[in-house]
Symmetry: C2
Subunit: 290 residues, 2 copies
């Protein structure tokens, strides 16, 4: 791959931790692949291949395996990646799927999380909070939410939309990038920490789906779920203010909306401000693996 750097990422999904036992096998497969493609997207890399270690309990039957394989096949076609190796083994424990995805990026140009600077504008792609709210719906919360909005949110939990096209388009324009898996505040915290900066975001600027707006209208406290729930797999990135038009153009080329939600400052930590500019106290800053 002359002129290209290899980018490699690994993410493991565990039944009962990252997906529910009741989730459909094809959606589990697609989510496992997509969270890895999202990691590559955050680096501006174009995915081309992956390996899979499928660690499966004996109770998993033919139907499940068939659904799983169909899910992988669908996303291999959708993202133009192929399976180049794998391992399947038995376990007395939960279904555990580990995928390593490989991508290519123009040499030396991969997007990093450690390069944000004070003054940068903070952007996100798509809408935030849908995955976390979808999980809550699946767990029986938000009783009374209409079926259409409920279905929308569940779908966003089951099937993330990684943004490799946007990641590639941001190369040379964005300064720092990450994908949102642990939660908006936690992942912005990762940018802040590795860049040795602080960040401020305005919760009233966070892009929300119609379904999320309906949930929040009835339960304003659910904003915390939006900020910290994770499972977004949208891109979170920073760019200098003068790059505004290039960012806009990249967003158009990729066909993915982006929204400015705050800025990078000196200091450290992430501060979320409400519509009146008052600091919001969050009880959790996002799901943390131990």
């Amino acid at each position: 791959m002359p002129g290209q750097d290899l980018v490699v990422t690994t993410d493991a999904l565990v039944e009962g931790v990252h997906f529910r036992s009741a989730d459909a096998a094809d959606l589990i497969a697609r989510k496992a692949l997509r969270v890895n493609i999202s990691d590559l997207a955050a680096k501006g890399a174009t995915p081309f291949a992956y390996t899979l270690a499928a660690v499966l309990p004996q109770r998993v039957g033919e139907d499940w395996l068939e659904g799983f394989a169909l899910g992988l096949a669908a996303d291999q076609a959708e993202f133009a990646v192929h399976l180049i190796g794998g391992d399947s083994t038995a376990t007395p424990g939960p279904i555990t799927l580990s995928i390593t995805a490989l991508g290519r990026v123009p040499a030396g140009r991969a997007l990093l999380r450690s390069t944000a600077r004070p003054g940068d504008v903070v952007y996100v792609s798509g809408t935030i909070g849908d995955g976390a709210l979808g999980l809550a719906v699946l767990e029986g919360e938000f009783a009374g939410l209409d079926a259409v909005h409920g279905a929308y949110l569940k779908d966003r939990y089951w099937l993330p939309r990684p943004r490799p096209g946007l990641g590639q388009a941001l190369i040379g324009h964005a300064r720092a990038a990450i994908d949102i898996s642990d939660g908006l505040v936690a992942d912005l915290g990762h940018i802040a920490e590795t860049s040795h900066v602080g960040a401020e975001i305005h919760t009233d600027r966070i892009p929300l789906s119609a379904a999320a707006r309906v949930v929040l209208a009835g339960r304003p406290a659910a904003i915390e779920r939006v900020l910290t729930g994770g499972d977004d797999y949208e891109l979170l990135f920073t760019a200098p203010p003068e790059a505004e038009q290039s960012i806009e153009a990249a967003s158009k080329r990729a066909g993915v909306a982006v929204t400015a939600i705050g800025h990078i400052r000196g200091g450290d930590g992430v501060q979320a401000l409400d519509g009146d500019g008052r600091p919001l106290r969050l009880t959790a800053s996002g799901y943390r693996h131990f």
Copy 2:
């Protein structure tokens, strides 16, 4: 990497399946890395990097993690590989380690398992059966075996010796290759099946360690464990008879002994013959993952 192909392999290890809960954390780490390096060795590839997904139950403490990290560090130095990505996550189940190792091989020259031809000589590296016998010792079998030989076998179970140097040296000389993880007969079966050939091996030509010879002297039936037990992580390969001197030279360059144990023939399946040339009936042809 101009002129080089990327080779990628993934292997997962599950506590209670591929290693014992009581095994030392540093040895578990090294084994997880080494079984992947062994896969690359079988392709003639030079390992250069790996990713790790560590799926760990809460009961795993600081001491275990420290030992695990030390084990990885030791083998990173020994095999000149570095960790380029990873994920760690919690599980309600057993320790599950998934490693993806990356290697390079001269373009188009990777060793394959599907290219054996009738008339080829079948070789193995090192000695066979030590890992499987070591596991048996750990499980309380072979009472009365002296401590020195017992310790030797246990060490071979805990710490495989992958053969990347030999794999590289065999490029252009061996015809087909695989590493022995499932067992000599099962892995030779993989070569036979994918190459559409059959194979015959002579059990009295299989290279044995002094410790394995001591075990077999008292319990001749343990030969089945040697043939089918797996956990060898030696190379099993074929080469045309006229390549005998090149194979000998490759073995010397790599500093790893190789032994001819049989040959490839037409037909299919693997036949093991005893010292009198009589077919041996095996009750198991090697550990099979489902």
